[in-house]
Amino acid sequence: MTAILTPKRFALLMTAYALLALVIFAVAPFFGSESLAFNNVVDALFSHRAHVDADIFFYHRIPRVLLAFLVGGSLAVAGGALQVVLRNPLAEPFILGIAGGGAVGAVIAISVPGLFIRAGPFSSVQLLTLLGCIICIGGIYWLARSPLGISMTTILLAGVTINILCGAAILLVRYLVSPHLLVAMDRWMMGGLDVVGYRELSALLPLLLPGLALLFMQGHALNQLAFGEEMAVGHGVNVASVQKQVFLGTGLATAGAVSLAGPIGFVGLIIPHAVRRLSGVDHRVVLPASFCLGGAFLTVCDLVARTVVAPTEMPVGIITALVGGPVFLRILLKRGKVR
């Protein structure tokens, strides 16, 4: 046995995580405010006999579970990569101020109903959210450029500052709009996965796929960056290029997730830590495993959100925080005892 990652162990771990994800993914669509009979769904699939259970299953539940999975997975991967690049265990995708910018866009779109348009699969809320995200990413990148690549300290500070600024902008909009719109805004800020059909899902892919691909490719180099930029440079890593790709990949994946699901917290923070506890700190494993576990986690949280207060729904952000908070505290407590 060796602690060094071998192709065999890599394959084994990936199979285990993928299986877990697959099981959750296969089971979750059957639960919800309406319980669906397995027979009816299978019947409709193979004999083209229409049944309301099958319609719910294929046109409502499957896209919803897919969205939960993609959003949870993307946030977890982004968080896992950022924790290494920023060398901060508390880093998560929203620390870059991306969610703040997105929230400003969403709040403006909600408060001006005259803006409501649909462009292909995008709604105005999504479009303005994306615009807000892009402005924030661009702004932070511009601020943090340094002769050696990107200054990670500046990114952290700029991200926190932009989040505060966006918070103020949101308060201003809230103060100005008529009260009945506040509910819609609050609902968006809590994060939810209840808006989808396949069209909206397809609008996510041009952001998520390149973002995730960029991040997955950095796994090997991220291990090096864990020991600091200088050590990584000494080992032959092009640090500036890795930082840029992580930054861009995180931006794309987070913007995509936030535009459709709102700021769903905690997934990007706790999932990578959980994965490292389960299967080690090699980021060639951590990133794809975070995708599987993050996807599975958010799918389960969404399942709870859909069922506990049926026939209505709870915002999934509440569940992730309620489950994630205590789990994370436990990790911290354990660590406190070891050291």
Partner: protein, 270 residues
């Protein structure tokens, strides 16, 4: 023609928004020697080493690695010839010892970066050379400071470099581990490695260096043998009054003894 392993020609540097600067500096590191880089705090020791390691690009001048301009090489090409151990290399993620050493193989690996059996042999050899083989599966955080520093050394020599640059590698260690670390380094040098070590400890530099380079205020003010540089007059010019030189009772090398209460002057950059 046989090139010097590492040769810097007129390299200088200026940090953004700082008055401090490194004045054009030229030096080289020879095969089979340890070059000690010494000087007061803020004299530019670490900056000079970073430029030699291409962690910083000089504003002017060039660094030749085995006769080739480093500015025209990519990171992996450099890392296959030159290894650099920065100050305070540590991680909040808990890698196992052998994972850390395997990181040194990075410049040789492609794609997902799985180790071949040759790479594994190199990793094991480096663990044995640094006497850390017995901890190979332990998390790095469970080791003592001295053990950890030897693991990091193993990680950089796993690059199979011709040149090794170390920045204060033993400053956090007790005297026993300091001596053990430098004894390991001596063995590596005997194998033909060219080594440059930044240290603020003049006596350690005297014990293990073959040649010294003395910096002050961003300038190289002396380069040469131990005897040429560890003289009380030169040290007083650099560090202030009250620097006495004695002889080591067994090796005969110079030993520096500061006198209590003697004034020392401050330097610009902290």
């Amino acid at each position: 023609m046989d090139h010097k392993p590492l040769c810097a020609e007129g390299v200088d540097y200026q940090y953004a928004e700082s008055d401090w600067q490194l004045f054009p500096a030229s030096f080289s590191v020879m095969k089979g020697e340890i070059l000690g880089i010494i000087g007061p705090n803020g004299s530019g020791k670490s900056t000079l080493l970073k430029i030699a390691a291409r962690a910083l690009s000089p504003k002017a001048g060039q660094v030749l690695l085995e006769g080739k301009d480093m500015g025209k090489m990519n990171r992996r090409e450099i890392a296959r010839r030159l290894a650099y151990l920065p100050q305070n290399a540590e991680s909040h993620l808990d890698y196992a010892v052998e994972e850390v050493v395997a990181m040194g193989r990075f410049p040789y690996l492609k794609g997902p970066g799985f180790l071949s059996s040759h790479d594994m042999d190199v990793v094991t050899r480096c663990l044995l050379q640094t006497e850390t083989e017995c901890y190979r599966e332990r998390p790095l955080s469970r080791l003592s400071g001295g053990e950890r520093q030897r693991v990091l050394l193993a990680s950089v020599i796993a690059q199979e470099p011709k040149v090794l640059l170390l920045d204060e590698p033993t400053s956090a260690l007790d005297i026993h581990h300091q001596v053990r670390f430098f004894t390991l380094l001596n063995d590596l040098v005997a194998g033909g490695l060219a080594v440059a070590v930044v240290t603020h400890d003049l006596n350690l530099a005297s014990l293990f260096s073959d040649r010294l380079l003395l910096l002050k205020g961003g300038k190289i003010i002396h380069q040469g043998s131990l005897e040429e540089i560890l003289k009380s007059q030169i040290l007083r010019e650099t560090y202030g009054d009250g620097m006495e030189i004695m002889r080591h009772p067994t090796t005969g090398r110079p030993v520096v003894l500061p006198t209590a209460g003697s004034g020392s002057h401050e330097e610009g950059k902290s």
